[in-house]
């Protein structure tokens, strides 16, 4: 089924009876050429690009719950390419370019909206840091515009510019940054993979990884054993558990990150605004809700909900930045489980077990990476070579200390990111 304006018109006139399921609900086969564990954004995009770019279609995505039930459906949907360090920079640039062609590629409306992202700064020192970051972005071939105070005011007149603690000095505008509809990204990739023959198997939890003579031979699942010689794991917050099935310990601690949404309002916030000093960021969804969040709760957690202190902190930061937000009523808050690495950057690598590939450690920033990660991880699985835009995400960088990617410059240590 192809989506088009004509099709919408036709369905509208004929009672919308022609829309079918977006993907099949197949029974697991006894064997696949490759198995992807985890049907979040990264698993689905990996399967999609394995089929599309590498012609591997006898593959399955095994998802323990339902498609879109993990972090891919829980995040605050910011899509950007404003990283500073080599390794991250070229990867997120690659990913953003894929986003820009994604809707045509998938024939699916993921509501990618490049509304512009503004990172605010509040001191001369911070301005210097953002000038440097902006230059790095421009050198990477992406876009960055330095705004002074009046420049920010033109875009965001409703901020409190004269806050005593955090007066606004300016901001770094990333015009191609923005948001997308998170569920639609999962659904679009699921549909695209399914159309190319990939089996998407929901309610199928992997409970064991079979290894013989140092090579994978298959998986045990709640729906029976399945044979395969290649396994890609893309289970985000559950990476520790799935790696343990292969006898591995990863440099990952799972933490909870919360987010919030208000009742639907008339359009008021046109951009994505990031107030780093307050650990606060916000955008407005197309439905009208103000979507905002802050930092981790900062203790290891697998509960998909957080605690009160971070809720209060986020609300306070919002009031500090834009007092008008106090008029809005918060509808919901929720949490997602984040796979935090010591340096805050991800891992895309082979493991010491033949045929077991690791994609993990996306921390709180893996949504923007969804197309990029699928494209480079599928390359690694299919060719056993690292993709040219993702050579830095090595698992051994922690052991060797070479190539750590600590964007925040706080140190490569578990409780600092």
């Amino acid at each position: 089924m192809r989506f088009s304006a004509l099709r919408i018109l036709k369905e509208g006139l004929t009672g919308n009876k022609g829309w079918g399921a977006h993907w099949r609900d197949p029974e697991p086969k006894a064997e696949y050429d490759a198995i992807i564990i985890g049907g979040g954004g990264h698993g689905l995009s990996t399967a999609y690009y394995l089929a599309k770019n590498h012609g591997l279609t006898n593959i399955a995505v095994l998802e323990k719950g339902y498609i879109g039930g993990g972090n891919v459906g829980r995040n605050t949907t910011i899509v950007r390419a404003n990283y500073f360090l080599n390794g991250n920079s070229e990867f997120y640039s690659h990913s953003l370019k894929l986003w820009e062609g994604l809707e045509e590629d998938l024939n699916y409306n993921v509501m990618h909206s490049q509304r512009g992202l503004i990172n605010l700064f509040h001191s001369d020192g911070q301005r210097d840091a953002f000038v440097r970051r902006g230059n790095a972005m421009v050198n990477q071939g992406d876009d960055a515009v330095l705004l002074d105070r009046e420049g920010v005011r033109k875009h965001l007149p409703y901020l409190d510019f004269d806050n005593v603690r955090f007066p606004i000095y300016g901001g770094l505008l990333h015009p191609r940054g923005g948001t997308a509809r998170h569920d639609a990204v999962a659904w679009g990739f699921a549909r695209g993979a399914d159309m190319r023959g990939v089996d998407i198997i929901q309610n199928c939890e992997v409970t064991g990884i079979d290894i013989e003579n140092g090579a994978v031979t298959g998986v045990q699942t709640t729906r029976g054993a399945i044979k395969t010689k290649k396994i890609g794991m893309t289970v985000a917050g559950r990476s520790g558990q799935v790696a343990a099935m292969a006898g591995m310990r990863l440099p990952i601690e799972s933490h909870v990150l919360q987010a919030f949404v208000t009742e639907g309002l008339k359009p008021v916030i046109d951009h994505v605004i990031s107030f780093g000093m307050g650990h606060f960021y916000i955008s407005q969804s197309d439905k009208g809700g103000l979507v905002f969040g802050g930092d981790l709760d900062f203790y290891a957690s697998y509960a998909s909900r957080g605690n009160l202190p971070m809720k209060e902190h986020v609300m306070e930061a919002g009031m500090t930045l834009m007092p008008m937000i106090g008029e809005a009523k918060v509808l919901r808050s929720w949490g997602g489980i984040m796979d935090m690495t010591p340096d805050g950057s991800p891992i895309i690598d082979k493991s010491h077990i033949d045929g077991l590939y690791v994609n993990a450690g996306w921390c709180y920033g893996g949504f923007k990476a969804v197309p990029g990660s699928g494209s480079v991880f599928s390359h690694l699985i299919a060719t056993d070579q690292h993709h040219s835009e993702a050579t830095g995400f090595r698992l051994d960088r922690f052991r060797t200390g070479v190539g750590l990617m600590d964007e925040e410059g706080t140190g490569s240590q578990h409780n600092l990111h």
């Binding site: 990863l250 440099p251 509960a303 605690n307």
Partner: protein, 90 residues
């Protein structure tokens, strides 16, 4: 979430600084080798369930505390002074 400081009693989570897995109590020898140090500094069991981690009662008595708690339910099962735990280990 409230944690029970063995010295001060039950206090709000805000008073505590979180360090992470209580591996710090079992620091390897300086010459234990690369693998032991990599495990100590980076690799984690990361359990979904009962874990033992290290907190400091920063805004209280400043004691280091080993907290046994459930990462799925946020239930606090036991707290003990890190000094006592360390002494019992040797």
């Amino acid at each position: 979430m409230r944690l029970k400081c063995p010295v001060c009693g039950e206090r709000d989570r805000r008073e505590f600084y979180y360090v992470g897995d209580a591996v710090a109590l079992a620091r390897p020898d300086p010459d234990a080798g690369e693998a032991a140090w990599d495990d100590y500094v980076h690799n984690r069991d990361n359990p979904a369930g009962v874990t033992r981690d290290l907190w400091q009662h920063e805004a209280g008595c400043a004691a280091w505390i080993v907290v046994t708690r459930n990462t799925v339910s946020h239930e606090i099962l036991e707290t003990a002074l890190a000094a006592d735990v360390k002494r019992a280990m040797s």
